[in-house]
């Protein structure tokens, strides 16, 4: 379980670090992260990131946000355990300036923007450029240099 928790922490750190390389069109004073997934991961995320400041913006983590809350989110993290909900959630968020982050291998190809996929010991960044380009979000090239760029699957787009 420690190992899982450690992995969760790394993911949380990744999410936090990602904020530095992402630009949202309307820049507000806070970064709201909506978490959709297991409560354990949500708690880790919340405990690690909630209230932290990143580039003078306060990070706020909302666990299992409602539809209205989702509207206010800058980032939505979708845990892979909730595979069934990914598509519906992504459908709802499609076209919005919300950075979508997921941890399953299929997240980015299914229309998510950034996937934090565990490969061996490492967590690898996978970015779906089509998804980011459709939104008004810009991810720094430095991150893109680190990331594996993935294409959306045909069927997923439909």
């Amino acid at each position: 379980m420690d190992r899982t928790r450690d992995e969760r922490s790394v993911r949380a750190a990744y999410v936090f670090n990602l904020i530095k390389y992402v630009e949202w069109p309307p820049n507000s004073g806070e970064v709201v992260i909506g978490f959709i997934g297991s409560p354990a991961t949500g708690e880790v995320m919340q405990s690690m990131l909630n209230g932290k400041t990143n580039q003078s913006r306060t990070v706020k983590v909302l666990l299992s946000p409602s539809n209205e809350e989702l509207q206010r989110c800058n980032i939505v993290y979708i845990e892979d355990s909730q595979t069934g909900e990914i598509r519906s959630a992504l459908k709802r968020l499609k076209g919005r300036d919300i950075l979508t982050i997921g941890d399953s291998e299929s997240f980015a190809p299914s229309g998510g923007m950034v996937g934090l996929v565990k490969v061996g010991d490492q967590i690898q960044l996978r970015v779906n450029l089509d998804a980011t380009q459709r939104s008004g979000i810009k991810i720094s090239s430095r991150v893109l240099n680190l990331a594996v760029i993935v294409r959306a699957e045909q069927n997923a787009n439909n």
Binding site: V10, Y14, Q55, Q122, I123, N145, L146
Partner: protein, 688 residues
């Protein structure tokens, strides 16, 4: 020029020094510039390298933030690998925020230069330069980057620059050398010209040369100074040559008359002889001596004498051809060199002409002066070819002319030469004759006609020469007079005569007559000397009669009168000797205290043969008697002559008829004693 030796070695050291100086200056400037440049370059290179490292660190750091943030070592390595393009970078160490080595880059494969944990990096590694940068993203520290670079690039650059510098230096030296030599050629050109001009002046002695001057630099000033010096030298040269010409003129010409002097005459004579030898002509050397000039000089003063000489020179000049040299030999002696003669008579004509031109009286400062000249002539080649001998021979001939009665000309002859040589040897021997006892005094008696008594002996010197026998006074007295030997000789005769006269007194009051030369008489001390002789011999002054010739008057009548008056006051008798042969001038007679007048033997000899002589002698006797003088007839040799003079009224006689000069007059004294015994009348004799 001869004292200051200015030497310019233009081709040599000066030019080389200038070139060397230019080279030194250019190379020093170049070296200084290069070192300054290199030092500057070194500093800038280091700074640039540092700046570059910093920039690289910034870029690499920026590029590796994401890798650090996302813990992507592979990505970090890739970023660091980008440094491979930057050759100076030896190593790059990227440390994570935790301080652990995150990624490293080594230029050399197999070397791991980076410590595993971050530590304080030395920034002063020798041969390296380092930079440490904190890697941060949006103000958040992500890690640290450490870059280490070597200086090889800078060193290589340095070496390259040094090579270029060396090459440039060599180039500068070459260019400087060429430029320097061109420049020195240009700068030294006027100096070389100046030196050339100086050499020209020195070698050609051309003081009129001038240096052309251009510009206004130091060399131009030097040239101007040189020109000024030249003109000063030239001026001095002109002055010097003028002075030399003046000196030469003075050396060769007579100041008074402007005629050539003896030296120039000798030169011209030598030249004339050379020409005559070539052209087979005769040359005559005419030697002119004025008669009586000394008397003019003594009586009328040197100023008048000088004017007379000038006028004589003028007259002579008027009678001499331009081609002939007229010279003044000194004193009253002149000479003429006559060239291109064919016959001796041509010289005779010139001599006669000269005698004629000098015969008319000169009027100088109201004095009417009549002089004459004695002329001697010698000939080339007749008498020799040596200029000095010819001059000597002409002199001898002139002397002969003078001896023959003056105002005449004589050619030189061998006999004259002999006579001249004889005279010279006599002159030498005469100097010792008195000391050797060769001068012997003879005495000739003089008798009173009326009483037939012996009244006086005339002292007459004889020179008993060891080889020539007895030499008469007429031969040696002139020599004595000319040489001045007459003074001691005269004193000796006076002394001897006075001593002898003292011995005669036993036989009665018999006078002694002593002839005194004008030369003796004109001496200031003469009267004192006579008094001294009378004093120490003890002879009564009345027993001494001094006989003077007319020439004494010519030395100055007033002075002669003073001396005569003093002698007369002492009681010494005075007689005028050889009357009628010299410059007889009756005017002075009344003013002089003469007791007696002696009629010259030449008149006595002619008595009875020429009536006018008889008349003249008669008149003389009358004149003398009227002036209170007794008359003595000389040279009575016959009874007829004795009768004549007795009849004419002469008081006393002297001559061979009555007695020849004898060194031992004792026989006459005996005669006197007899006469004395016969006659009881002691009439006064010898005094007025």
């Amino acid at each position: 020029m001869r004292t200051t030796d200015i030497q310019f070695s233009i081709g040599g050291s000066f030019a080389h020094k200038m070139t060397l100086m230019a080279l030194l200056a250019s190379s020093m400037a170049s070296v200084t510039l290069m070192f300054a440049f290199l030092a500057f370059d070194s500093v800038t290179s280091h700074t640039q390298l540092k700046d570059r490292l910093a920039t690289l660190a910034d870029i690499v750091g920026q590029n590796s933030t994401a890798a650090l943030n996302f813990d992507d070592q592979q990505a970090a390595l890739e970023v660091l690998q980008a440094l491979r393009a930057e050759t100076p970078i030896v190593s790059a160490c990227l440390y994570a925020q935790s301080g652990a080595l995150f990624a490293e880059y080594q230029r050399e494969i197999g070397i791991h230069d980076c410590p595993q944990k971050i530590e304080k990096m030395s920034s002063a590694l020798r041969g390296f330069t380092t930079v440490t940068r904190t890697v941060s993203q949006q103000g958040e520290v992500a890690g640290t980057l450490y870059l280490k670079s070597d200086l090889k690039e800078i060193q290589q650059r340095w070496r390259r620059l040094l090579k270029i510098a060396a090459a440039l230096l060599i180039l500068a030296l070459i260019v400087g050398g060429i430029a320097g030599s061109l420049l020195q050629h240009r700068i030294l050109k006027p100096v070389r010209e100046l030196a050339g001009a100086m050499r020209a002046v020195t070698t050609r002695q051309d003081l009129l040369a001038r240096v052309s001057i251009s510009g206004n630099d130091e060399i131009a000033q030097l040239g101007t100074g040189f020109n000024i010096m030249l003109s000063e030298l030239a001026k001095r040269d002109v002055e010097k040559s003028e002075a030399e010409a003046r000196l030469q003129y003075q050396a060769l010409n007579d100041d008074l008359t402007g005629l050539p002097n003896r030296r120039l005459l000798a030169d011209r004579l030598g030249h004339a002889l050379a020409v005559a030898e070539r052209e087979r002509h005769r040359v005559a050397l005419v030697y002119i001596d004025l008669d009586g000039f000394k008397l003019v000089n003594d009586s009328l003063g040197h100023a008048v004498g000088d004017i007379l000489l000038k006028e004589v020179a003028e007259r002579l000049r008027s009678r001499v051809r331009q081609s002939d040299t007229l010279a003044r030999l000194g004193g009253d002696e002149f000479s003429v060199v006559l060239c291109g003669l064919n016959a001796r008579e041509e010289a005779g004509v010139v001599a006669a002409d000269i005698l004629e031109v000098l015969s008319s009286p000169f009027t100088i400062e109201n004095h009417v002066i009549t002089i004459s000249a004695s002329i001697g002539v010698s000939f080339y080649p007749d008498n020799g070819s040596n200029a000095a001998y010819l001059l000597q021979q002409a002199d001898s001939a002139m002397y002969s002319a003078k001896r023959s009665g003056k105002s005449r000309m004589k050619y030189f002859s061998e006999e004259l030469g002999v006579a001249a040589r004889e005279r010279l040897s006599l002159e030498t021997e005469l100097r010792t004759a008195i000391a050797l006892g060769q001068i012997v005094v003879y005495y000739q008696p003089e008798f009173e006609i009326a009483t037939r008594r012996l009244v006086r002996f005339e002292a007459l010197a004889r020179w008993i020469h060891p080889t020539l026998g007895t030499i008469p006074p007429s031969k040696f007295i002139p020599i004595a007079e000319e040489t001045g030997i007459i003074v001691p000789l005269g004193a000796y005769i006076m002394e001897s005569a006075c001593r002898a006269a003292l011995e005669w007194q036993a036989a009665g009051p018999i006078q002694v007559a002593v002839n005194v030369s004008s030369i003796q008489f004109v001496r200031d001390t003469f009267v004192d000397e006579v008094m001294e002789v009378l004093r120490h011999t003890g002879l009564p002054p009345a027993l001494l009669q001094i006989e003077l010739t007319e020439s004494v008057m010519l030395t100055g009548v007033r002075w002669a009168a003073d001396a005569m008056t003093r002698l007369s006051a002492l009681g010494v008798g005075l007689a005028i000797d050889d009357f009628g042969t010299g410059y007889s001038c009756l005017g002075y007679l009344p003013h002089l205290p003469f007791n007696s007048l002696k009629i010259d033997r030449s008149f006595v000899n002619e008595l009875g043969s020429r009536p006018e002589i008889d008349a003249m002698v008669h008149s003389l006797v009358m004149l003398a008697h009227n002036l209170g003088m007794r008359v003595i007839a000389e040279g009575v040799e016959t009874e007829v002559q004795f009768e004549f003079v007795a009849r004419l009224g002469c008081n006393e006689v002297q001559g061979y008829l009555l007695g020849k000069p004898t060194p031992t007059p004792a026989s006459f004294l005996a005669m006197r004693s007899e006469v004395r015994e016969e006659s009881t009348v002691a009439s006064e004799t010898g005094n007025r």
